[in-house]
């Protein structure tokens, strides 16, 4: 099953999130990630929803969501025409100085920042495409991931094309 990203421009009201997520619940679709935040327009928020499902299933929910009165705009963001980012914070176990320098080297090659350090761990931050984060996290598992936090994806269309 493919991952799809939908970007919504919605009114910033209580209940909008419930209404939107209810559409997925009714169809039994699991939301893989969800971000909600203010946007360039006052009184509106932007939601970025990632779901796994078939193209046709996605199309059906997308249309139902556009019907919601508090949803101003729905855009389906394909991989090719969007910049997609996820932010990850992870605390990695380092058993000795060898492990520590290996972790730090790998972090550097992935562009991850060290945001905190302790005797037996380092905490890293990486903002990247979700797939690259997956790979980075997999690497870090060799050392031992103590804690992992991800914000979920946010995405923006490339160029002016998507902003009607």
């Amino acid at each position: 099953m493919q991952t799809h990203i939908i970007s919504l421009l919605v009114e910033d009201h209580p209940g909008v999130l419930t209404r939107m997520s209810g559409m997925f619940t009714q169809r039994g679709i699991n939301i893989t990630s969800l971000t909600v935040s203010p946007c360039e327009k006052e009184g509106l928020s932007r939601m970025t929803v990632a779901i796994k499902g078939s193209e046709s299933e996605l199309e059906k929910v997308r249309k139902q969501i556009s019907n919601l009165i508090e949803v101003i705009k729905v855009v389906n963001l394909g991989k090719k025409d969007a910049i997609v980012r996820d932010l990850c914070l992870l605390r990695v176990h380092v058993k000795d100085s060898g492990a520590r320098s290996e972790v730090m080297q790998l972090a550097e090659s992935y562009g991850a920042k060290i945001v905190d350090a302790a005797l037996d761990s380092v905490t890293l931050e990486l903002t990247e495409e979700p797939e690259r984060i997956n790979r980075f996290v997999d690497l870090m598992r060799h050392f031992g991931v103590k804690q992992l936090y991800r914000t979920g994806v946010t995405a923006i269309g490339i160029g002016a094309g998507l902003e009607r």
């Binding site: 009114e11 419930t18 209404r19 199309e59 249309k63 556009s66 009165i69 508090e70």
Partner: protein, 572 residues
């Protein structure tokens, strides 16, 4: 008004008047005292006190279906609001325009399990087109205006406004009657002309065109356009349950209702056509059967619907048109008239006429050979009632007998719970219908099981002189379920017998209604006349065959051409 400020309750009532509300169905409660205090003084709005909130919602729904105008129901917080839920779900499923006003506990205690608190806003979110929880008195004008605007535009539906006690009691200086709407609500009205052209090309070429008319045609008031197009094309018209009445069923091109409990020839036409124009229908499984590849296998499918989300939802179509069906039909007709003359009678038309003569609801009052008592009674009712009379139905066999054998001659005169299939709908809907059209005869075709679910509102009829006639098809069974048990569960009638209680005649008389028992179909004419002449709401307890079956039907999982129980159908 000379006062600077108005109370929330006054604002609500002012806005209701501006929206043209003349009737509201409801029951008061603690948090609604302010609203009722104002409402009671207001002469422009008639409030009908119901005996159950579910009935208030159904009555508002029935009222809306008869007039096309938004129905209004009112309930208090907590149990009042939860009692509305079935009725609102029903209305929304059938795209009926209803605005519900509910009381709510004061904003300061929302979310604390306050006395009679229920989260009406979250409970009704998935069963309404939209809902509001009002947090400031000054928001009321915009909210009420938009509630009505949203309910009765685009794909119509239910809008609920939850009104906390302090918002109704509080005062604010407001500008009444705002025109402002919401940016995210832009109902699709105008069909795309390029798509219209494509459709016209297909229709002009089609040798065996067929029109499937759904509830959207009635809702849009497009029945005249539909008839013109059918006549111009020489295309038969079949309907869904919700579309019953979109074309007069005695029109020679009408083949009645299609689907699971539809007419054999309506379904056969689906199988034979080469172009299917679906108008304002959502292709429910009751219409299509369960084997979608057998639904119109040779046809180019065209779907006209105002709701984008309905396009390709249940059935993939070849050409979609998103927009109002009345506008779409006018555009199609205009273009078609330019493109070709009306054809002389085709082979297809000749076949349609034969099919029409074999269609049960189209041939009028003659019951078929070997007819069940239920069938004979419906045909009698169909014969006795005039073209303007309104029938509502409960749910079950009575409803399907009515769909099958009642000849509907005008739109908005056949009112039934289609999408939700709510037992208990027909009677309160009849109350709403009678209030909407006091000069018309209104008859509820009821199963005994269904009627018992909402019969307490006989009191409402008596107190408010609402003269509806309830015709009970008394089989002492939950008949439709029993029929399934007979056909598909080896006659094991698990929990479908209703015993002998109550005596419906005595029950009705206890409420102060006119009542009569009809033991034989021959007695019906007199009994109905007595009922209409009684000057009271009336109940006729019609004894029907305990094991009457409504046939033919598509068995579960079957296809549109796989109907069972067709032995008594004419073969042509």
């Amino acid at each position: 008004m000379t006062r600077e400020k108005l109370s929330g309750a006054e604002i609500v009532v002012e806005e209701l008047k501006t929206e043209g509300v003349e009737v509201a169905f409801g029951i008061p409660g603690g948090v609604l005292l302010d609203l009722y205090d104002v409402l009671d003084r207001e002469e422009a709005i008639r409030h009908i006190l119901m005996r159950h909130e579910q009935c208030a919602a159904h009555a508002a729904d029935g009222y809306a279906r008869v007039l096309g105008k938004t129905g209004v129901c009112i309930a208090t917080s907590g149990p009042g609001a939860t009692n509305l839920v079935t009725g609102l779900t029903n209305a929304n499923m059938d795209s009926s325009p209803v605005v519900a006003l509910t009381g709510q506990v004061p904003t300061s205690v929302i979310g604390t399990n306050a006395f009679q608190e229920a989260s009406t806003f979250t409970i009704t979110m998935p069963i309404t087109k939209h809902n509001f929880l009002v947090k400031r008195t000054e928001d009321l004008p915009k909210v009420i205006h938009n509630a009505f605007y949203i309910a009765n535009t685009g794909r119509k539906g239910v809008v609920l406004v939850d009104l906390p006690k302090d918002i109704l009691a509080g005062e604010a200086k407001v500008n009444l009657h705002p025109k402002e709407t919401f940016a995210g609500y832009k109902p699709n009205i105008k069909p795309n002309q390029v798509q219209i052209k494509r459709v016209v090309e297909i229709l002009a070429k089609a040798e065996r065109p067929l029109i499937l008319a759904g509830g959207g045609v009635i809702s849009a008031g497009a029945t005249e356009e539909l008839r013109h197009l059918a006549e111009f094309l020489g295309a038969p018209v079949i309907t869904t349950l919700m579309g019953k009445g979109a074309i007069p069923e005695n029109h020679p091109f009408c083949l009645g209702m299609a689907g699971m409990h539809g007419q054999v020839y309506a379904n056969r036409a689906i199988n034979e056509c080469d172009a299917l124009l679906a108008l304002g229908t959502r292709f429910s499984d009751r219409t299509t059967g369960w084997q979608l590849d057998q639904f119109a296998p040779d046809a180019t499918l065209i779907q006209v619907d105002i709701d984008t989300a309905e396009i390709n939802k249940n059935l993939p179509v070849d050409i979609p048109i998103v927009g109002d069906v009345k506008l779409a039909l006018s555009a199609i007709l205009a273009l078609l008239a330019k493109k070709r003359k009306k054809k002389s009678e085709s082979e297809w038309e000749k076949r349609i006429k034969k099919m029409h003569e074999a269609c049960d609801s189209c041939v009028g009052d003659i019951p078929k050979e070997g007819a069940s008592v239920s069938e004979i009674l419906i045909k009698e009712i169909s014969r006795i009632l005039d073209d303007d009379a309104i029938v509502t139905t409960e749910v079950g066999q009575c409803q399907m007998f009515a769909a099958h054998y009642y000849m509907t001659r005008k739109p908005r005169t056949f009112i039934s719970s289609g999408g939700l299939g709510t037992m208990g709908f027909g009677f309160p809907a009849a109350i709403g219908a009678k209030v909407a059209a006091p000069d018309k005869k209104v008859v509820d075709l009821a199963g005994d099981g269904s009627f018992l679910m909402t019969c307490q509102d006989l009191a409402t009829c008596v107190e408010n002189d609402i003269q509806v006639v309830v015709c009970i098809f008394d089989n002492r069974y939950l008949g439709m379920v029993r029929q399934w048990q007979e056909l598909f569960y080896e006659k094991k009638y698990a929990q479908t017998g209703l015993g002998i209680s109550p005596d419906f005649v005595k029950l009705a008389e206890a409420f102060g209604c006119y009542a009569e028992r009809v033991e034989k179909p021959e007695e019906l004419q007199d009994a109905l006349n007595n009922a209409f002449d009684s000057g009271k709401p009336a109940v006729l307890d019609m004894i029907v065959g305990k094991e009457d079956k409504v046939l033919p039907m598509i068995p579960p999982g079957g296809s549109i051409i796989g109907m069972i129980g067709t032995e008594r159908c004419k073969h042509i």
